[in-house]
């Protein structure tokens, strides 16, 4: 800008006050906000401390080592009322993890099948899947859980238990089924199963390489199934096929022997699985439909078979749409498992509440529960983010 130019323009001088400086204002607001938050946190802390002292409630996490004095109906690790609160909470965590893990696997399978069925050209399958989705996702998950809990509670008593097969019972005590008695030979069966899995992966890899080299397609599904099932079977036969079933029998008012799933576990699992499965079905449907029709037309015009189109064209492109929202569903399923507290499933919240009531240390008990859920959720997120990075396809 030239001097002459400047002379022609009448510049109005504004205020030179710092308060009208944009940069200064930006910083000032942030400092004020930070100060307010710190002050609020301090006041809260003071208040809690003062109140706890007034009511003579201890603080800190020492209670975790004290004897809990309560029993838990369903435990994956050894536990009795002589054990500590810490161990009780661990039992709760294990129960939460087991129902959430089963739920995630089942909801994924159910959701994928229903999602594919919804876009299928089979009218009946599509209608059934739509019905499932609309019913299950429009009913609060609490009702799902309570509904299944009451269904199971209304099953016949053990004496009149439904028995679809010899030794298998469905009663208001849960689902009771025979299991093989433990036997040292089974260690080798497990080892053989692991070896079979490794071999199956190796075979798959080899088949793919072979195909790239010669162009010959080798079906891997049946050979792989053969290896995975056959090896443990062989290991079992070689050791003389030891098998003693522990068959449940009615003794008095309940069953002895066998293994069982408790009514609470089944109800919670079915409830959260059906609910989340409906959302996953919609996600899968959206993912498949997000692939442009032109992609499929181009593949068909090239003469590629329908199964291959799904595997090489549709699925890879759908997966990147499916994975991120599915992660959210896994997280909400895990957190929804805390509804177990409503129907008496001893999950983390259930055990945590009992602990809270007995010790009165609400802040610490809640903190433990929050930390555990946060930990589980972050772990799921991390795992799914890594998976997402693997399937996220490169486009440029």
């Amino acid at each position: 800008m030239t001097v002459a130019h400047e002379a022609n323009i009448d510049i109005k001088k504004g205020s030179s006050s710092l308060l009208h400086n944009l940069a200064f204002r930006g910083v000032a607001y942030q400092v004020l906000l930070a100060a307010a938050i710190v002050l609020l946190a301090y006041l809260l802390y003071q208040n809690v401390n003062a109140n706890l002292e007034k009511q003579r409630i201890a603080t800190g996490f020492d209670f975790l080592n004290e004897t809990s004095g309560f029993d838990i109906g369903e435990t994956l690790i050894e536990y009795d009322s002589e054990d500590s609160y810490g161990r009780a909470l661990l039992v709760g965590i294990m129960n939460t993890l087991s129902v959430a893990a089963c739920g995630i696997v089942l909801a994924t399978i159910l959701g994928t099948i229903m999602g594919i069925a919804r876009v299928s050209r089979n009218w009946l399958a599509s209608i059934l899947a739509s019905g499932y989705v609309e019913i299950c996702r429009n009913v609060p998950v609490v009702l799902h859980v309570i509904f299944w809990a009451s269904v199971i509670r209304n099953l016949p008593s053990p004496k009149q238990a439904l028995s679809p097969m010899e030794g298998v019972f469905l009663a208001n005590r849960g689902f009771i089924f025979p299991v093989p008695e433990p036997n040292p030979a089974y260690t080798w069966v497990w080892v053989a199963l692991a070896a079979g899995l490794v071999l199956a992966f190796g075979f798959n890899y080899w088949a793919q390489k072979h195909r790239e080299k010669t162009g010959k397609y080798i079906a891997t599904l049946w050979p792989c199934m053969g290896i995975v099932i056959g090896l443990p079977l062989a290991a079992w036969l070689v050791q003389g096929a030891p098998l003693v079933w522990s068959v449940p029998e009615l003794k008095g008012f309940n069953f002895r022997g066998g293994a069982s799933l408790t009514p609470e576990f089944i109800a919670l699992l079915i409830g959260i699985t059906f609910y989340t499965g409906a959302f996953i079905a919609e996600i899968v449907r959206a993912g498949i439909q997000s692939v442009p029709v032109g992609q499929i037309e181009a593949s068909r015009a090239l003469g590629i078979r329908r199964g291959f189109i799904m595997r090489y064209i549709t699925f890879p492109q759908a997966l990147r749409v499916i994975v991120p929202p599915t992660t959210s569903q896994y997280l909400s399923l895990t957190k929804n498992s805390s509804l177990g507290v409503l129907i008496g499933y001893p999950d983390l919240v259930n055990v945590g509440n009992t602990t809270l009531n007995q010790t009165g240390q609400a802040v610490e008990a809640i903190a433990v529960m929050m930390a555990v859920y946060l930990g589980i959720s972050l772990t799921i997120s991390l795992g799914m983010n890594i998976y997402n990075r693997i399937v996220a396809i490169k486009e440029r």
Binding site: E212, K213, L302, I393, K394
Partner: protein, 258 residues
């Protein structure tokens, strides 16, 4: 269908390779094709033009069964298109198609786009398929882009890749559905050049396009379609200078006067 092909003499002129007899098609109540009769000879180049919605795309999409016809017969390379999946697959192996919107697979590199179908459909070893892919990319003068993703290429380059991808299946017929309509003007020529070269090599081509220059120089016959039916079929010289139908005249006056 190698067995079917052996019985026929190769490169015989005047040999019919596509036959449409009384083909009709409806989308719901809307009739998209009305009693279409057309034969295309081996090595012939046919350009299809007409106003939008006249059924040109639908007609060529029936030739490789991306759309099914409801009445009449379609025979391609001696194979009749019916609901028989084997027939459909056999026809699709012989017929390549290029789309207006390219439809390259965005998640695969250019070379993988080209090698995929030969590997899956023709059971070709990966190394051979890639070698062939590079050969066709060289032919459409785009070999240096082989290891990029489609999204990194310009429209004209993408369409040339799409043509090369079809050629990798070594088709006997190529269908083009408005191959230059989605391109910027300066990219149209590079695609048309490839198509002209293909025509010179003797490929049987059915091309839906509004590029009248291409029709004039390359086509053996020009077909004008309007309102779901074929209005006029003529060699380009007569088609452009002495169109018979008034509808053709109107159409030509609309697209040639600017």
């Amino acid at each position: 269908m190698p067995g079917a092909r052996k019985t026929r003499k190769k490169n015989e002129t005047g040999e019919t390779i596509i036959t449409l007899e009384g083909v009709s098609k409806w989308f719901g109540d809307f009739q998209a094709l009305r009693d279409i009769n057309l034969t295309v000879d081996k090595g012939e180049r046919v350009v299809v033009c007409g106003p939008s919605g006249s059924g040109k795309s639908t007609m060529i999409r029936c030739i490789n069964r991306l759309e099914n016809h409801q009445r009449g017969r379609i025979v391609v390379d001696g194979i009749e298109l019916t609901d028989n999946l084997k027939n459909i697959e056999a026809v699709r192996r012989e017929v390549g198609m290029v789309f207006q919107s390219f439809n390259l697979f965005p998640h695969m590199r250019v070379i993988d786009n080209l090698a995929l179908a030969p590997m899956l459909v023709r059971q070709m070893p990966k190394k051979d398929a890639e070698e062939m892919a590079l050969g066709y990319l060289r032919r459409v003068q785009i070999e240096e882009q082989a290891y990029k993703y489609p999204g990194q290429l310009s429209g004209g380059q993408q369409q040339r890749v799409a043509i090369a991808r079809s050629l990798c299946m070594q088709p006997r017929i190529m269908l083009f559905d408005e191959p230059t309509s989605a391109l910027d003007p300066e990219m149209i020529k590079e695609v048309l050049d490839v198509m002209v070269e293909l025509a010179e090599d003797g490929m049987t081509m059915v091309v839906v396009t509004h590029e009248m220059g291409f029709a004039r120089t390359v086509a053996n016959r020009v077909i004008f379609m309007d309102d779901a039916e074929i209005v006029e079929i003529a060699p380009p010289e007569t088609f452009f200078s002495k169109p018979k139908s008034d509808r053709t005249k109107l159409f030509l006056s609309q697209i040639l006067t600017h």
